[in-house]
């Protein structure tokens, strides 16, 4: 089973939920936690441990100047503006390249071959017994987040229980994380922002056909508008986490609330049971 913790809005508590859920489940069974927020991965801050890393490589063209006739076919075929062919040379912008290989295919001189370029890495650690943490990390100044997410997820495939900490937002990186997942937990907060972005994010899960439920974080007991929305959209509320300075302090200092407040363990186990029982989950 692959379970994604997502939100739409940033800072609602995705990492809090994903890392505590993984830690609690790991005391009972094998769990893989995948940090798919590759632009700003934070789960590792809660699980300091020795890491091994592997690079994430993408295909980029290499140009053989001795063969290139500056015909311009490669520049014309590139849909991403990564290649500009001048009279006497070729300009290539690696960060724009999606690695589609189109330029290699259209080069009549065989002057282009695809080479590997590193845009990030995947880190592996086993911070506690039963838990494997896989972190996707996009290198600074790179933009191909979905590619790093895909690689990180590939390393987790085949495992019985995979929990993914999703990136914020609703576009490509979130789609990459959510697609093919068995279930999704949306973490929201009772503010107009939390509500607005939950609607957007729930729309993405709907389009992708992923069964979803909601965790309300920082509850002060007045989240009527979120409850109404969940009823209307048929999104079960799986857990409510109170607004609590102790929880915020644990999260801010890189501690798991389930370690600091053992009473929370049961609540996270219940969250898992409810998420696994969402209608439509295989």
């Amino acid at each position: 089973m692959r379970l994604v913790v997502a939100s739409g809005k940033g800072g609602t508590g995705k990492t809090l939920v994903a890392s505590n859920l993984a830690a609690v489940l790991a005391s009972e069974r094998e769990v893989v936690l995948v940090d798919c927020d590759v632009e700003e991965p934070n789960a590792h801050l809660f699980f300091p441990s020795e890491e091994k890393t592997l690079p994430v490589l993408t295909d980029v063209p290499a140009f053989d100047n001795s063969r290139c006739t500056h015909c311009g076919n490669c520049g014309d075929s590139c849909q991403f503006g990564a290649i500009v062919v001048l009279k006497d040379r070729v300009l290539f912008f690696p960060a724009m390249c999606h690695g589609c290989g189109g330029c290699e295919l259209v080069c009549p001189e065989g002057a282009i071959t695809m080479e590997k370029r590193s845009i990030g890495h995947v880190a592996f650690s086993t911070p506690r017994s039963g838990l494997v943490l896989i972190t996707g990390v996009l290198h600074e100044r790179e933009v191909m987040s979905p590619h790093v997410i895909r690689e990180a997820l590939a390393y987790a495939s085949g495992h019985d229980l995979v929990i993914c900490d999703a990136p914020p937002g609703t576009a490509c990186p979130v789609v990459e994380t959510l697609e093919g997942a068995d279930a999704c937990i949306f973490v929201t907060e009772p503010t107009p922002f939390g509500l607005h972005d939950l609607i957007l994010a729930a729309g993405v899960a709907e389009v992708l056909g992923v069964p979803s439920g909601v965790v309300i974080n920082r509850s002060m007991g007045d989240e009527g508008s979120i409850r109404n929305l969940c009823r209307a959209r048929n999104l079960p509320i799986l857990m409510t986490i109170p607004f609590d300075r102790g929880i915020a302090e644990a999260a801010n200092s890189g501690q798991l609330v389930t370690d600091r407040m053992p009473g929370m363990k049961d609540q996270f186990l219940k969250l898992f049971t409810r998420a696994s029982a969402l209608p439509g989950v295989r």
């Binding site: 632009e39 801050l45 189109g102 914020p168 607005h196 729309g203 709907e206 302090e249 801010n252």
Partner: protein, 292 residues
């Protein structure tokens, strides 16, 4: 015209609240853009009057003309994004979510059975607020191309801000495509962070990215009194990087109450609103713009 973006790295540190406060208190003629196009929230605080919606077309998507397809499979083999598959009946189909619009399938198809189709990924909204125009966007669920949409939002906002002194941008979280698109061409970045291990980690990565652009940096520490230890760490990091810390907003329930009531924080007196007023002053001084 000056362009200033409010960024953070980590989400939920208070970018939008700070942007809306600055929108209320900065002097001069202002214009606004919400470049957090995946989850645009600035409009929730600035109560704009919508003027116009413009469709946003991202990358084109491949489509196979079934009647011309001979099922040779070359397109599927050439697609590096696994966007082409065969359904139960053997028909080849493209997946608009996976398709990145590279056109390789079109170019390898011997039957010319594949074409690229314009694909609407969202809408750009042009609106008017009390202080000036606001441009923001809505992405269709499941659509990508947010970096490109940021670019289009900024372009539209620049057009709307003719004769204005300052374009204030509410930025996206992260450090990837939408952030880099936001950073390009701006004069200054205000980075909102909070005292916590994750926010500091994320701020460091953001500064590594933004320092590749020629712009001035400022940092605002939100909820600064919650963890004096981490606040000190942020200050040390900023000192080391030569980034001025222009504000330390205290944790203040008045902020949440104002947001929930749909009122700008700066319209009510509170410890947070007083510090936001100071931040506005320091920013206006630092930017050296002459309000028209």
């Amino acid at each position: 015209m000056l362009q200033v973006a409010v960024l953070s790295g980590k989400g939920g540190t208070g970018k939008t609240v700070v942007t809306a406060a600055l929108a209320d208190i900065l002097p001069g003629r202002l214009a606004f853009a919400d470049c957090d196009v995946e989850a645009a929230n600035l409009a929730l605080l600035l109560s704009p009057r919508e003027k116009k919606r413009v469709p946003f077309y991202g990358m084109k998507k491949a489509r196979i003309r079934e009647e011309a397809c001979v099922s040779c499979g070359l397109c599927k083999a050439a697609c590096r994004f696994h966007a082409i598959s065969q359904d139960g009946g053997g028909t080849y189909r493209t997946d608009p979510i996976r398709c990145e619009g590279c056109a390789v399938c079109r170019d390898v198809c011997p039957e010319r059975a594949i074409f690229l189709l314009e694909h609407q990924d969202g809408e750009i909204l042009i609106a008017e607020t009390e202080r000036g125009p606001l441009v923001y966007a809505e992405l269709c669920p499941g659509s990508g191309n947010s970096g490109l949409l940021v670019h289009e939002v900024k372009k539209a906002a620049l057009k709307e801000s003719e004769g204005r002194d300052l374009l204030l941008i509410d930025g996206p979280p992260g450090i990837g495509c939408p952030v880099i698109s936001t950073l390009s061409g701006i004069s200054a970045a205000v980075m909102v962070t909070e005292p916590g291990v994750a926010a500091l980690h994320d701020l460091r990565r953001l500064v590594t990215v933004s320092s590749g652009f020629s712009l001035s940096h400022w940092v605002v520490i939100n909820r600064a009194d919650l963890h004096p230890g981490y606040t000190r760490e942020i200050e040390l990091f900023c000192e080391e990087k030569g980034i001025p810390v222009i504000g330390r907003i205290p944790f203040d329930p008045a902020v949440i109450h104002a947001v929930r009531d749909g009122v700008l924080v700066t319209r009510r007196d509170s410890p947070a609103s007083r510090e936001l007023a100071n931040i506005g002053k320091r920013l206006a001084e630092g930017l050296l713009y002459v309000p028209g």
